[in-house]
């Protein structure tokens, strides 16, 4: 099935790239979505079976693959809406969809790969396809964004590669040849701890560019700002999940060895700094899209805290990353309509959104409540569980610092969102504001509702899969 999927992806993206016909473009994208869903169900039914030697869909991979399937449908729909309002040529539309298909496929393959080198190759492909999406508008700002993104990502994949080399040194002493995650897991007690330490450090630093943590988070912010909003939604959700998978699989090996405590300290430092950086920018930021991007940085920091502390925190981290995917994509999809109303990203030019687009304004309000983890939102449950795990592990100081920082983030986020929703805008020409169709907001409502449903009334199968994934670490 994976071979079929890879061949299908290559075929569809090549056809999308060269095709100029609108109908054929629709057919190809719908065909790809169906292929992706078939892959999702197939891997769910063949969980933990090795395919093509290098792929093994385990619980974590299958969960995130399903999340990808769900998010891909609104992503394609909003891409069409985006392109139809921007007078695109068939050529730029073809490049856009071809690279989106490549991005989604590369992320999916990285989720379910069972070999660190194969994961690494797909990380490279995501860099390539994401840069084509960021550079969609072909202007100087987009060029700056894509240049920074490519440069930092090139550095980050070099770092991951160095980490893989050190990992091979760690395995050399034990005489292990096979670099698949399964075989490393099996022989974790034979690994040389010094090389394993160095290897974890480099691989973690490399993946921070994808997941969006200190030190390499910077490139992702500019990328999400300059990429078209539907592409930005993918960059700040499924691509970040890919970084999470990479770190999770390496940390799973490390967590069984004696250096587990050392590794968790590294992760906690990086997570705390990420939340701190997000707080600093969120309290003074004036660009709505960048604000959403920084909010993702904050959530990834919280996820990493849960992962590092362990206990119930690992379960909560996986739950949190899934719910965050739904919430953040819905906010990014909604951003397109804000831009259509005000023709600006700056908080100074917007206001009274309730008056111009009621359905969209409610999405923004609900999205704000969800993203700040206030009680009716699903993220409240996962965040609460992470705080509980911090409390149980006696990390009181960290808990207090994080709570204070989160309060400041809620203040910064809230003051901008309420300005957007309720304060009257300055110098706005009301006759030029287009009428927004409420149907464009339907997918956002569904995504937000799913985030609530999965947190408060999770299906038994969903909980089983998460528990299965947690077993890798404990």
């Amino acid at each position: 099935m994976i071979a079929t999927f890879l061949i299908g992806t290559l075929l569809i993206s090549t056809l999308l790239f060269f095709n100029k016909n609108t109908i054929l473009n629709y057919v190809l994208v719908i065909g790809y979505t169906i292929l992706l869903w078939i892959l999702g169900f197939y891997e769910y039914n063949h969980i933990n079976t090795i395919e093509l030697e290098y792929f093994k869909p385990d619980a974590l991979g299958v969960l995130l693959l399903f999340v990808m399937c769900i998010v891909s449908i609104p992503a394609f729909y909003h891409s069409y809406r985006y392109l139809s309002t921007h007078d695109e040529t068939p050529r730029s539309r073809g490049i856009f969809f071809a690279s989106m298909v490549m991005l989604i496929s590369a992320c999916s393959m990285a989720y379910i790969s069972n070999h660190i080198a194969v994961t690494w190759i797909f990380v490279e492909i995501t860099t390539l396809s994401a840069s084509a999406l960021i550079y969609h508008h072909r202007n100087i700002r987009a060029l700056e964004g894509v240049w920074k993104y490519v440069f930092i990502c090139a550095l980050s994949i070099s770092f991951i590669y160095i980490g893989i080399l050190f990992l091979s040194l760690a395995m050399k002493q034990a005489g292990i040849e096979d670099m698949s995650f399964d075989s490393i897991m099996e022989h974790y007690d034979l690994l040389n701890l010094f090389w394993l330490k160095l290897s974890f450090l480099f691989i973690f630093t490399g993946f921070t560019a994808k997941i969006g943590l200190v030190p390499m988070y910077t490139a992702g912010i500019d990328a999400k700002d300059k990429a078209p909003a539907p592409a930005g939604a993918l960059l700040s959700s499924v691509l970040m999940n890919m970084g999470f998978v990479g770190i999770y699989r390496v940390y799973a090996v490390v967590s069984h060895t004696q250096i587990q405590h050392w590794a968790s300290v590294i992760i906690i430092i990086s997570a705390l700094l990420s939340i701190f950086v997000a707080t600093v920018y969120m309290t003074r930021i004036k660009n709505i899209k960048r604000m959403f991007a920084y909010s993702s940085i904050e959530h990834m920091g919280i996820v990493m805290l849960g992962l590092a502390v362990g206990g119930i925190g690992v379960y909560a981290a996986i739950l949190h990353i899934i719910l965050h995917t739904f919430v953040k994509t819905s906010l990014f999809f909604q951003f397109n309509q804000i831009y259509r109303v005000y023709q600006s990203k700056s908080i100074y030019d917007v206001g009274h959104y309730f008056k111009y687009n009621k359905a969209g304004a409610i999405v923004i309000l609900l999205g704000f409540i969800s993203a700040t983890a206030m009680p009716p939102s699903g993220l409240f449950i996962s965040e609460f569980l992470i705080f509980q795990s911090l409390f149980e592990a006696h990390y009181f100081l960290i808990l207090i610092v994080v709570l204070i920082l989160l309060t400041m983030i809620i203040w910064g986020f809230g003051s901008n969102i309420f300005k957007l929703l309720f304060t009257p805008p300055m110098n706005i020409n009301e006759s030029r504001i287009p009428k927004i169709n409420p149907i464009d907001s339907v997918s956002q409502y569904i995504l937000l509702a799913m985030a609530v449903y999965l947190a408060y009334n999770p299906p038994a199968e969903f909980v089983n899969l998460i528990q299965e994934a947690v077993k890798l670490i404990q």
Binding site: A117, V146, S168, L169
Partner: protein
């Protein structure tokens, strides 16, 4: 390399490094199969030593980039920093006790890595950032050679990284940056911030 003022000096050093890597790969990868060895040698000589440096030269001419490297810090301080880096890596590697690793490779690789990072942060021009990245790549390649006899797959992956990253960075974007602007310094790419 850290104290050179003219960009052409940097390019000449890159060419030199490419030839050294060719020699090192030839002597150290003795147990690898012949076809793979030929591929690796061709990559070092054609790609690392000739194609990329010459392409950078062409870019500099075409985009009329000034030939000064424009460091942020005086050369004397750079010299001290880079020397310290090399000494620290030597001391660090002497504390490692592992018979599987040739320490020379380790020292060369790490000092190349840090020198490259230093070049990136201490120079104004984008082209010198790219050169810094290529220096890091060369360091990584040396490290790959250290484990290459047992795991040729990793060396091949390294070659893939080389080609992929260099083509992506140099081929597509530097060309475009040259099209947009006549003076491609890093200073103008400073609009995206908060």
């Amino acid at each position: 390399m850290s104290i050179a003022n003219r960009i052409y000096t940097y390019i000449n050093i890159l060419i030199f490094q490419g030839f050294i890597l060719f020699g090192v790969a030839y002597f150290s990868l003795s147990e690898i199969n012949t076809l793979n060895l030929i591929l690796i040698l061709l990559e070092t000589i054609i790609f690392k030593a000739l194609a990329v440096p010459l392409f950078i030269k062409y870019l500099i001419k075409r985009n009329k980039i000034t030939r000064e490297a424009e460091p942020y810090l005086p050369n004397f301080i750079s010299l001290i920093i880079v020397t310290t880096v090399i000494i620290v890596t030597i001391i660090m590697s002497s504390s490692i006790d592992d018979k599987n690793l040739d320490k020379t490779y380790f020292v060369v690789a790490l000092s190349n890595l840090f020198t490259g990072l230093y070049l990136i942060v201490s120079r104004k021009k984008i082209i010198t950032h790219v050169i810094g990245y290529l220096v890091i790549e060369n360091g990584v390649f040396v490290l790959a050679l250290a484990v290459g006899n047992e795991m040729p797959m990793l060396v091949n992956l390294g070659i893939m990284l080389d080609i992929f990253a260099s083509v992506l960075i140099l081929g597509i974007f530097f060309n475009k940056i040259g099209d947009f602007l006549k003076d491609p310094d890093a200073t103008f790419l400073r609009n995206l911030k908060d």
